[in-house]
Amino acid sequence: MPDDANAFQTALALIMGGDPDLLGIVMLSLQVSLTAVLIAALIALPLGAALALWQFPGRGVAIVMLNAMMGLPPVVAGLAVYLLLSRAGPLGEFGLLFTPGAMVIAQVILVLPIIAALTRQQVEELHSEYREQLSSMGVSRSRRIPTLLWDARLGLTTVMLAGFGRASAEVGAVMIVGGNIDGVSRVMTTAIVLETSKGNLPLALGLGIVLLVLVALINAAAHLVGETAQRRLG
């Protein structure tokens, strides 16, 4: 068992030294997870808002399903995408398997339900406050979607962060569809798994620290934006 001080030193040296391999892994992680969150948000924000505004038969079931999907195990999502993208699968011809594209697809599937379900909740709450006023002004239901999304923007920032947290922390899905190929599809979480199983604990720990710091930084930035907006908008 290596002593912790040694592991931290290695980690610090890697970070400070600007190790190109480490940098590549970090950049790819960020690229994949941020792209996934962006794509998921583009679909999930209006979807969640629509679910909050429209009454239709089976709405309750849809909401329960969506909430349940928030707990979808990443390996299951990974397996599903793997089957879709594998050579013999329906989308095999695109040759996406073991590329960052496949990893983005898998993470979109993981993140989309979180953003949609939480957006639904927030928009529904805000709409219960706005309903009479908007009805009085004759605002159509489809026009209410951008209105409510914009007015709920503070809370929705946190929702997007939750989505990013899930994407950047999961390992099961990217491992299966990405394959953890050095220089191609290796991200922080899969690298940590690999280094740990190789017994290279200092490097694994170093990567872990980088991951933590990155997530903390992104949260801090979002928090600052939120605080400023809160002060300005009341």
Binding site: Y130, E132, Q133, S135, S136, M137, G138, L233, G234
Partner: protein, 241 residues
């Protein structure tokens, strides 16, 4: 400030409530009532808390569908706006709240800011245009809600206890605004439980008590020779709130 360009002079459609009643979860909140409101009057709906005033406003404005009876406008439904007891403002700047309202009613983008600023000016809010609407004081928020209604150029304006949470200066501002609306040619339908306010503003009075329409008469008659026992008690201040 006082150039009240009148709204295009077309007769405001009359509002007819025929046998309109409202029940919620088996409880009757408003007994079936008939009410006909014509002309460009200032009608004040009075009555104690729980009498059904707000309910009547929401039914007339179309926010609620009556459990029985029919609410109808003679001819076409007029342009309407409503000001609520607690104003619901968007989480945006004062100006953005108004440009939003203009966008909704189809005003071209390039004219929105100008019109919104004019309305802010009219309601004494010009200095606050960049402030978030939600951090304005109660009186300022209500004036902003009135400015938003102003921009809708309503032929009928509903106000549901617009002054009950305000201090005297803010109440005065709201009452002035109501008179401005009326001078511009807007029909007023407003609830209050303030007798003095009703005396100041009303052309005619609708009195509700316990979910029943008790009396509908011209203000002068209502205050001098009330027809119902409830109205007499109400004016003497004997109806328990």
């Amino acid at each position: 400030m006082n150039d009240l360009r009148r709204l295009p002079v077309t007769a405001i459609p009359s509002l007819a409530l025929e046998g309109v009643g409202f029940a919620h979860r088996g409880q009757t909140l408003l007994q079936p009532l008939d009410l006909r409101l014509t002309g460009c009057q200032r009608t004040l709906v009075m009555g104690p808390n729980g009498a059904g005033k707000s309910l009547l406003m929401r039914l007339a404005h179309g926010l609620l569908v009556p459990s029985r009876g029919r609410v109808s406008w003679e001819g076409r439904p007029p342009r309407q706006a409503m000001v609520f007891q607690r104003p619901v403002l968007l989480k945006r700047s004062a100006l953005a709240n108004l440009t939003y309202a203009l966008a909704i009613n189809g005003t071209p983008r390039r004219r929105r800011k100008l019109l919104a600023r004019e309305a802010l000016e009219r309601f004494g809010l010009a200095a606050l245009e960049k402030r978030p609407a939600r951090v304005l004081s109660g009186g300022e928020q209500q004036r902003l809600a009135l400015a938003r209604a102003w921009l809708a150029e309503p032929e009928v304006l509903f106000l549901d206890e617009p002054t009950s949470a305000l201090d005297p200066a803010a109440i005065q501002a709201v009452e002035d605004a109501v008179l401005d609306f009326h001078r511009r040619g807007t029909r007023i339908l407003m609830t209050t439980h303030d007798l003095q306010q009703a005396r100041r503003l009303a052309d005619d009075i609708v009195l509700l008590y316990g979910g029943r329409l008790v009396e509908h008469s011209p203000a002068s008659d209502f205050f001098t020779t009330p027809a119902s026992a409830e109205a007499r008690a109400f004016i003497r201040g004997e109806l328990v709130w």
